[in-house]
Symmetry: C2
Subunit: 268 residues, 2 copies
């Protein structure tokens, strides 16, 4: 079930200069701090959606303000409840955004990819993080303070508008999730979640679309508001129908159409 596949080298996120053997599709080459060179940093920012309106020279100027930092897979980047001191942009790696509930279970709101941002959006209202962020893979994070971000918005109104559009998009997607949780059974929520992940984190391979982040059944359960066992049963069923494949902490989507039918089906 597991095969060695060579990593395809995407220029904008490739911090890894050496080719190495991989065991699993999601075993990425390690992302090392020293790979976040100023040049690379600028390249990443240039491709970051909310900075898209900026010119090359503006990007260069803005890049100065960002602090780069490296996180190993599994470590906490920010914790809900802590003072919110940074707005972070993902340069490389994937990050799990979650809310811990009072009774100990975790709710995963999203898995973010390079170019996405998280953290404190503005110093209004909440001066603390409302979500916990965990490095799902090794990560390279660029961060500025909320004050710097605000001043950035003031200096470049186009950035404010771009950010507004991004946040509006996030709100849309949150609303879709609310609809899912309110109205659809777990099976459909899992199918919808897989489709969404495939679209945002998927890499096409001969075998199907590999979701490029290590994802456990528990993660999937926390994303769909279900329990591990339930998700496991559903994934077994999906595998039986040859809709998905995968192994320990990784998933490949084999049949997009089939999953889409899953999502729609109950609309009988």
């Amino acid at each position: 079930m597991e095969r060695d596949i060579t990593h395809d080298v995407r220029p904008e996120t490739c911090f890894n200069t050496r080719m190495e053997q991989r065991r699993r599709p999601t075993d990425h080459l390690p992302i090392r701090p020293q790979h976040c060179t100023p040049t690379v940093l600028r390249a990443v920012l240039r491709r970051t959606p909310f900075l898209a309106p900026l010119s090359e020279t503006d990007i260069a100027r803005v890049a100065e303000e960002f602090q780069q930092r490296h996180y190993e897979a599994g470590t906490v980047i920010q914790r809900a409840g802590e003072m919110a001191t940074r707005l972070a942009v993902i340069a490389a790696g994937t990050v799990k955004i979650m809310r811990p509930t009072l009774d100990g279970q975790d709710v995963v709101l999203d898995i973010l990819a390079p170019g996405d941002f998280f953290g404190s959006l503005a110093q209004l209202g909440e001066p603390v993080y409302t979500e916990t962020a965990i490095a799902q893979t090794d990560c390279c994070i660029l961060a500025i303070t909320p004050e710097q971000f605000r001043s950035l918005l003031e200096r470049y109104p186009a950035v404010a508008i771009a950010t507004l559009e991004l946040v509006a998009g996030r709100l849309q997607s949150a609303n879709r999730t609310i609809e899912q949780l309110s109205a659809h059974p777990v099976e459909q929520r899992v199918a919808a979640t897989l489709l969404n992940l495939a679209e945002r984190l998927g890499r096409r391979e001969e075998d199907g679309i590999v979701i490029e982040t290590p994802l456990s059944r528990q993660d999937l359960a926390d994303m769909t508001g279900a329990k591990v066992e339930t998700v496991s049963r559903i994934m077994s069923e999906f595998r039986r129908l040859d809709l998905v494949g995968g192994g320990r902490r990784w998933i490949v989507v084999r049949d997009l159409e089939g999953l889409r039918d899953m999502v729609t089906e109950a609309a009988v």
Copy 2:
């Protein structure tokens, strides 16, 4: 309570000139189109959060662009799937924002009050409304086109930032809802929803905090991702515990603390 622009009688925003008998706390005096005079319109916009950064003269100029329109209780203001041609601000009344699902059930995302906005945020991506808006009471709505709105954001960067903060706030609240739906039983979701409504639409009376919008059990069910019968049972229980009161399509919160305990309790 700062929120309440229209229903308490303040000289500059009063749409209702006569005092009349009320049957129920939510039987509001009718809001008539002719009450949305230019002066009143400007007064409303002055108090609208996302225009807060503007000066008096700017407000006056901006006010010119808004089209005012009246909707009777129960009528559709916009329908999900239609071409998105307007961004709307509520001048008076309350509006129910919902997503109809393929299989016919409705998911209510929010109930909005005067000063809140809805509709098309930007002409990016989705050119259609993703939500349906229904006048919960008689309503006076001010609207501009997405193009006008965008130009407004460009002319007044402070407005863009204010809007960003508002949308970020909505995202926060959507995330809270996702947490609720994922992790907490219906009883707690109902309690949390009532608290939220009380805070945003509540008017203090001798008897408790009256939620100033007609709200059926069905509405409450659609807001909590539950079924009418379940919500009805829970509300009966809450009434038995003297946490809430009310009648046909109206609710009064009697015991805030008690409800808060309800929300927290299961965190045993």
